[in-house]
Symmetry: C2
Subunit: 110 residues, 2 copies
Amino acid sequence: MSATGIAQLPEPPYYAVIFTSQRTAGDQGYDAMSDAMVRRGSSQPGFLGLESVRGADGVGITVSYWRDLESIRQWKEDAAHQQAQAAGQAKWYAHYEVKIAKVERAYSMV
Amino acid sequence: MSATGIAQLPEPPYYAVIFTSQRTAGDQGYDAMSDAMVRRGSSQPGFLGLESVRGADGVGITVSYWRDLESIRQWKEDAAHQQAQAAGQAKWYAHYEVKIAKVERAYSMV
């Protein structure tokens, strides 16, 4: 994640993983695992950037950006990430949705 | 936006507009315009759903989902939305990034 919370990205095309979630109550080790997964994910081959926001109501949107589908597949299968995914389903999330999307166009406020 | 804050969507393919922003300080009419744009955008042809979260640091991610690129183009050119975009650049946002992406695959927590 950049210092500003808005990712600096190359020109499209690239891929986005849109992860929308509703947290359960209480931390239950979530913050530490989330920080660890941000660090680990950011060092994966093909990782381009990350934007992540959670509101006071527990709904969060995390968008990670990747060079290609193969990079996304490898990160999904990473052993530590698999453990985090299992714990996420067991205790941290009431619900989540994942979307994999090809970014075709991007522009900024000028 | 659904009652849960997580959009209910059809099977892919469809399109996502990922809007990541940093708000300026103070409301300056933002909340009222934001609510109006959510209502207006949600009634546009081709609109499928919306997910929107802003954190305490003023960084926000809004993802709107659309049937096709033509629906996105028409909403971008909507007259009231154009006024909101101009005000957004002039006073509400310190910075924003827009990405247009084709959702190829989606899955939920089971």
